[in-house]
Every structure is written in C-alpha cells, then in structure tokens.
C-alpha cells in the first residue's frame, strides 16, 4: 500500500481517502485472503475461545443437569478449597522444583553448540548433529517406556552395569529422591541436540575476521570461543531464556503422567496431572477447572511481566 500512495502526491490523498474507507476497499479487494484465514480461525474459535467461555464453571457448582449457565454461582469457593487443601503445596512445590531444575539445564545446549561449532571436521560435525537430533523424535511414551525398562530392578541394563561394577541394584522409579533427576536429565537427553540448532545457526554469524584478529593477538582457541563465539550468540540466548521463563509453571502433562507410579507420587504429582485426575477421573469438574485456571493465570502473569521487562531492556518483546 506504501507503493500505491507514492505516485503523484496530489492524487494520493484522494485515492487513500479516509482510513476506514480505504480499509473497506482493501478488505473487499482481498476477500480471498479472508477465505484463506477462515478454516484456521474457525478452529481456533471453536477449540480455544469457546472453552474460555466455559472457564466460568470454576466459579460455579457445575452439574450436568443444569448445564454451564444453570449451575449455581459459588464465587471463589473452589479456589479457597484449593488453597486450603493438603495437596496444594506439594503440587505447587513439585511443579516448581521440576521447572526450575529444567531451567538450570538451559545452558547445556549452548555449550553443546559451541563445542560442535568448533569441530573442524565438517563431516563428523554433521553426523554428530543428525544423531543428536534423534531423541527429539522419539515419543514421550517410548522414552518413559525406555526409562522404566532400562532402570528395572531385575532386568534393566543400568542395574546390570551397576552390579557388574560392584554396586547394588537400585529401584530407580520407586525412589522419590531420584524422580526429578530422571525427569530433567532424560529431558536434556531428548532435547540437547535439537535445542542446539538455533545456537548453531546463530554461530554461523560469528565474524571470522574477529577470530583472525584474536588469533593474531595470541588468543588461544578457548579464549576465542569465550570472547568471540559466545558474544555472537548472546542475543539469541536472551530470547530463548525469555521464552523459557514464560512457561515456568507449566510442567508438561504427558511425561509427568506417564512417569507417575504409587511409589513416587509424592514428588511426581504436578498441577496439570492433579487437574486431570480431579476433573476426568473424580468428576470434580468445577474444582479441576479452578486448578487449571489458577495455573494458567500465574503462567500468563509471569510471561507478561517477563515480556514487559525485556521490552524495557532490549526494546523488543514477544508482542
């Protein structure tokens, strides 16, 4: 539209007209674009916005007979119930432990990318990349299945190795103390290669002239990695860090749910799995909705705060 305005500044005003008229003209001209948008918009309205309307049952005593609108208002009853329940602190704590622990592993893909970038044999580098992507494509069901079978007390190969080295067999999945380590480090295993992609791509922008200048000044390779490569990807690192911070209270349902068993439930129950159990297994619909709303609001607030802070610092945020 910039272009349409330019030729002949006198005619442009007439052609442009008042904004809404111009928009109307553009909208009519580009009706086909709205048609292209339609299916996706319909899907998003149906499966994202219509459910938001249903959030009100968190403030009602929902039962099927009366429906969403007919059920009695209860105000904040379910939230009070949540905050007072004995389960509340354990699930919040478990959620936070796992997400902060995961956050601590954030630098690992960066280090891995720096290492990979400085391997001079291109072929070897590419092969390493391809192979480290592999775990990313394994489904969470299979990963958890592997965890269970590998760490099995009687038949897992990890225990075979431990015993061969003179150690004692460990029932890994029944030890609450080991749960968060297993959860987080299998996550690192799955994602380290994949997460490194973005840093690898950013590293290709690191200036070869700077490298040469540093070399002439007598910098060794390690110094060059730290003082030339690392600053080159710092902005990418920052963006990724913000994105990670935004989801601090959301520990994925899929993996937690699969890794749970009766022995580790005290540390493996997180907000998302608790909400599922309350809702679909115990049919406490209103309470479950309140639990997930609580989680959602905290996440959203956190993201908004992080976003506005970074906007102030760096001038650009997510929105």
């Amino acid at each position: 539209m910039e272009k349409e305005r330019r030729p002949g500044s006198g005619g442009a005003l007439q052609k442009r007209g008042i904004p809404w008229k111009r928009n109307l003209r553009l909208a009519r001209q580009n009706w086909a674009l709205y048609v292209m948008l339609l299916p996706a918009v319909v899907m998003i309205i149906t499966f994202s916005y219509v459910p938001m309307y249903g959030i009100q049952i968190a403030f009602r005593d929902f039962n099927f007979a009366d429906g969403i609108l007919g059920s009695k208002w209860t105000g904040l009853k379910w939230f009070r119930y949540l905050f007072r329940s004995a389960q509340f602190w354990p699930i919040v704590r478990n959620t936070l432990v796992i997400s902060f622990y995961s956050l601590l592993t954030f630098p690992i893909p960066i280090i891995f990318a720096l290492i990979l970038h400085n391997i001079s044999n291109m072929r070897f580098k590419r092969i390493t990349q391809t192979i480290t992507y592999l775990p990313h494509f394994i489904s969470v069901v299979v990963v958890v299945g592997m965890i269970y079978t590998f760490t099995s007390y009687n038949s897992g190969w990890i225990n075979t190795v431990i015993e061969a080295l003179g150690g004692k067999r460990i029932n890994f999945m029944a030890e609450p103390g080991l749960y968060s380590h297993i959860y987080v480090w299998t996550g690192v295993w799955q994602e380290v290669g994949w997460s490194a992609i973005i840093y690898m791509a950013a590293l290709t922008n690191s200036d070869p002239e700077l490298h040469e200048a540093a070399m002439i000044d007598g910098a060794n390779k390690l110094q060059r990695i730290i003082h030339v490569d690392l600053p080159a990807i710092l902005s990418t690192v920052l963006i990724m860090l913000i994105l990670r911070c935004g989801s601090i209270m959301s520990v994925g349902f899929d993996k937690s749910f699969l890794m749970q068993n009766n022995m580790n439930l005290s540390v493996s129950e997180v907000i998302s799995t608790y909400s599922y159990k309350m809702g679909l297994q115990n049919s406490k619909y209103s309470f479950s909705t309140a639990v997930s709303l609580f989680n959602n609001v905290i996440n959203f607030t956190f993201l908004t705060v992080v976003n506005s802070v970074t906007k102030k610092i760096s001038g650009s945020g997510l929105w």
Partner: protein, 299 residues
C-alpha cells in the same frame, strides 16, 4: 582452518581442547545411539536373556518372537492403522488450514491482520483448560469420534506464525504487484506462486505436524474410549505402563507365559512404533535449521 595451519603453530592448549571437543561429540553420539541400539538388540534377543538383563552389546540369541507377536496381535495392527490414519488426515488438514492462514496474515494489505494475529497468539498462552475443552468436544458430539483427535491437533498457532514469518521474509511485494497487474487474483497467486516458493517451510511444518500426531497419546486418551480407535502410542502406553505391575493378570499359567514374553514384546513394539520417524527425519534435516531460524524471529 586448513590454510591457517600452515603458518600458525597451534599451541598445545588448542590441541588438548580439540581432543576435548571431539571427546564430547563422541560421548554425545554414544549417549544418543546406545539406548536406541539397546532397544533394537533387545527386541531380537531371547526372552530369558531380556528378562534377566544379561547382555549389553550384542543380542543374546536371535528370535523374532516379539515381532511375531506384534504381527499377530489384532490390537496392535489396528493401533498402527489408526495412527497412520490420524497422521495422514491430520497432517493434510493441518497443512491446508495453516498454510493459507499464515500466508494471508503475512499480507500487509489485509485490514485487521494485527488484531487477528494478537487473538491467535493469545491462545498460545491462555487456554480454557481441560474440562471446558472437554465440554466443547462433547457438545460437538465428537467424544469417541476419530475427528476429535484429528481436529484437536491440526491447527497450531505456532505453525501459522512460522509460515507468516517465512512469507514475509521471502515473498517479495514486487512479485505480488507484478502479477496483480497481469490480472492474477489472490487465489491464483497463492496456488501458483506461494506454494511452490514455500516448499522448504511446508516440508518442515509437515514434519512437525506429522511427528506430533504420530507421537501423541493425550487427545486419544481423553476423548476416545473405544479402543478400536486408539492410536499406537496409547496401546504402547498400556503395554509399557501396566505391564510393569503385571500382577494384574489373574490366570497363573497365562500370566507366567505372558510375563516371560512381555519384555521382548515391549521392545518390539517400540521398534515398530518408532522406526518410521527414525527413517524419515534425516532426509528433512537440511530444512530444520531454516524452520527453527524462522521460528526464532518471532517466537
């Protein structure tokens, strides 16, 4: 690097560092490959060896009983069929919804695009939650219908943003204006120029969506009770999880026989469920970097 070596003597520290770099890379390869390799050799080993865990590098014996079980088991075959169905239909639908939407949102002359974009992004960070979504699916009569799984996974705002960013950065306005003068409408422009020019991003997104369908169990677990419609991952979950406490099986003799085989069968099912993706992703690898980079511009 090769050229420099000739006139700069590399200090000892650099050589040591190089050894360290290669050592880390080799360690990473071993860590990624060994678990997968172990599953592979376990799936063909004898059940007694698997049950006692007495092998690490080579299969003990060579048996295909696990795979035989997989091939003869109606449930697993149905699960496989369902997974393929969900993946193919879901990916096709997802692409045909997301690509046009992403393109439309990349057009600067589309009134309201900023608002639509904001409303879409909002859903990435705020959702109705499990129960309200469940009620919507229920009201649409989609509980126990294959469509619930297909529709729930097909539109991803993240993918729409990827396509939008790609179109913004690689489709020039000059091309659009030139074809407009020649009388090419929006629809024709989309099919004749946008799609052929976006092959790379389409490949990446097709892979993302397909892997998403192939690997997920969540929607099926929540919305589908009828186990003839369950995808492979959900069956796998039952097999992998419930068999851990296989004492559930009452019949003593059957339980004994089942327990003897179950570990091997688990490994065989894992191989069968994972192999297709393992075979495909290396070929799409060259597109990954592009896809991830575009995604990073506007998360």
């Amino acid at each position: 690097m090769g050229k420099r070596k000739r006139y700069i003597n590399r200090p000892l520290g650099d050589k040591l560092l190089d050894i360290f770099l290669y050592a880390v890379a080799v360690a990473a390869i071993v860590l990624c490959v060994y678990p997968v390799y172990f599953v592979l050799i376990a799936s063909v080993s004898s059940s007694t060896a698997v049950n006692s865990g007495q092998f690490l590098l080579w299969p003990k014996g060579f048996h295909l009983t696990g795979y035989q079980f997989v091939l003869e088991n109606k449930k697993i075959l149905t699960g496989y069929y369902n997974t393929i169905l969900y993946t193919v239909v879901g990916t096709a639908l997802g692409l045909s919804f997301c690509i046009p939407a992403g393109y439309a949102l990349s057009r600067k002359d589309l009134p309201g695009r900023k608002l639509i974009m904001k409303l879409m992004i909002f859903t990435m960070y705020f959702s109705g939650g499990l129960i309200p979504t469940y009620f919507v699916v229920k009201d649409l009569n989609l509980i126990n219908s294959r469509w619930s799984v297909i529709l729930m996974g097909c539109v991803s705002v993240y993918n729409i943003i990827l396509i939008r960013s790609f179109c913004e950065s690689s489709l020039s306005e000059e091309l659009l204006n030139a074809t407009k003068i020649d009388g090419c409408g929006n629809g024709r422009f989309f099919f004749q120029f946008v799609i052929p020019l976006s092959k790379a991003i389409i490949a990446v997104i097709a892979l993302y969506v397909a892997v998403g369908y192939w690997n997920s169990y969540y929607h099926a677990m929540i919305y589908i009770n009828d186990d003839t419609k369950h995808p492979l991952q959900l069956l796998l979950r039952q097999l992998l999880m419930t068999a851990n406490n296989a004492t559930d099986i009452q019949d003593g003799e059957l339980a004994g026989e089942y327990l003897k085989q179950v570990q091997v069968v688990k490994y065989a099912v894992i191989v069968v469920a994972t192999a297709p993706i393992m075979c495909i992703y290396p070929f799409l690898q060259k597109y990954f970097v592009q896809g991830v980079m575009i995604g990073a511009i506007k998360g």
